[in-house]
Amino acid sequence: MAAQGMHARPATALVKLGKNFKSAISLKKGDKIVKLNSLLNILSLGIKGGETVSVLIEGEDEADAAAAIDQFFEEELKDL
């Protein structure tokens, strides 16, 4: 996770990205799981810099979604 944590700006971009796919996407931190379609829920996880989160994806376009989200975490997130 980027140094400053999951702030509103990258989280907004992530929610928008998730909307491009039909798959059900969730974010998991510790034992908390939230759907990626809710910015409120993502922010309420309070993800901090250095913390690990997992992404759960299930649906017909799960492979594409996984690739896009991977890329988001690797590249785009650091620019936001």
Binding site: Q4, A8, T12, K35, L40, K48
Partner: protein
Amino acid sequence: MEIKGIGVSPGIAIGKACVIKKKQAAVTGILLIDDAEIAVEIERFDNAVLLAISEIESIKNNTVLADKDIAILETHIELIGDPQIKDDVTELITAEKKNANDALIQVTQNMIELFRNMDDEYMQARAADMEDIGNRILKHLIGADTLATQKFEPGTIIIAEDLSPSDTITMDLSCIIGFATRAGSTTSHSAIIARARGLPAVVGCSAALMDVQDGDAVIVDGTRGALYVNADDETIRQLKIKREQFIMQTAKLKQLKDTPAVTTDGTAIVLSANISGAADMDDVFYHGGEGVGLFRTELLFMNRDTFPMEDEQFEFYKQTALKAKGKPVIVRTIDIGGDKQIPYFDLPVEENPFLGYRAIRICLDREDIFITQLKAILRASVFGELKIMLPMIAGVQELRQTKGIIEKAKNQLSKDNIAFNHNIKLGIMIEIPSAAITADILAKEVDFFSIGTNDLCQYTLAVDRMNEKIAHLYDPFNLGVLRLISNIIEQANKHQIHVGMCGEMAGDPLATILLLGMGLKEFSMSATSIPTIKNNIIHTDMAEAKQVCEKVMEFDNPDDIKTYLQQFIK
């Protein structure tokens, strides 16, 4: 009743109050009786969400906004349409039979609590966003008028807790003659709008402001920083006189345009302007400016995706040099960092950005960026009288290191047979206390000083000038600050180098006689302030100014200094 505040836009407005109150979310307590009502309430909520989103979309699309503001609006759009909020509201409507208003108020309250209790400062601050989006949906649920659609009577003075950027951007200002707000500082949005429109405004008013009622007779004194509510006849009479004087003064100052800035005993003073690009030059000459004391180059680096190349920078400086028609233009090298961020240059988030990686510190670390700018300025220097000024110099080592880089830039240009002014003048901004104290050492190595009072004041007093809570502690008339300024000017004069000032203080009429007395040679300010300062200068005698200065330095209370100096404003 008189309410004190900070005058942020001068002049006096006499009119009727229109109080903008943020609607308090009142719980109705209504319980729904059947499924039909439940369906109606859910639909009402859905509609309010759609209206709230389209409202923000239209602000976003119809206004010129910084990227940062667009990002905030996008986050708000996302939150307003958030499925979790819809689920929670729907749940309260169906299970607890609350109406949409009450359900939303409760959900908003829960969100605010949730964020307030998080263990991260950033997330705690998001509680304000939750409140904002909750209120925005609620507003459409209640069907309340927005400021944008509100019609005002002619002669309206707006009284508000605070005006958000979206309020001030969309408000119909044609009938508004003044502002008074509880929150805000000289740099807040409402202050900037008021100054741009020439509307008297007072911000940071005391709590009594919230007792003002719609239709009260109010008078804004934006010059002194006060609001009068239902004033007695005598006060009104006096303020009317003051208003007439202000209007006459403004008209009189316009006529000073071509009058030279010379004191009664014949000492010529340079009056110049602070600009951000060639386009500002018309305004400088219109107000009688004799050159540019501070050309901020940041504009060139902002609102783009990559660093500008040397040729593009060269064009930018050249255009300004040409428009200045041979008048001196002091070009300040990149002053980013602190409160000025550029998106493509990945500056780390810092605990204390004003004490961090900024301005000359970045330039000395990133010679590639610096040398590109220096070469561009040098190339442009053949088209006018450009001078180079370095920001944030703390000591002589930085200065020497910079001189080495300038030499390198000159050598590269010479090698490529590119013309430049070999004798371009080099100066430094004195805005760090260590530089002010060692001005005698620095004066031996530069052609001029320019005193940056804004940063000098914040660094000397350890007061963050962006922090409203301690705004009252930020005071350039503090003796500590005045002694530093006095030392800078004295050392410059002793070493016979030019000394100017480009901070806010240069445009403060209260300080003119004092700075003249200290021996300041150039005052650089926003172009609109030039006539006022000129009027002070042409009525001042240097011998008197020296006496005033000596007297001021004996006071021990900044408030006494300001009271004393009041009488010398012409």
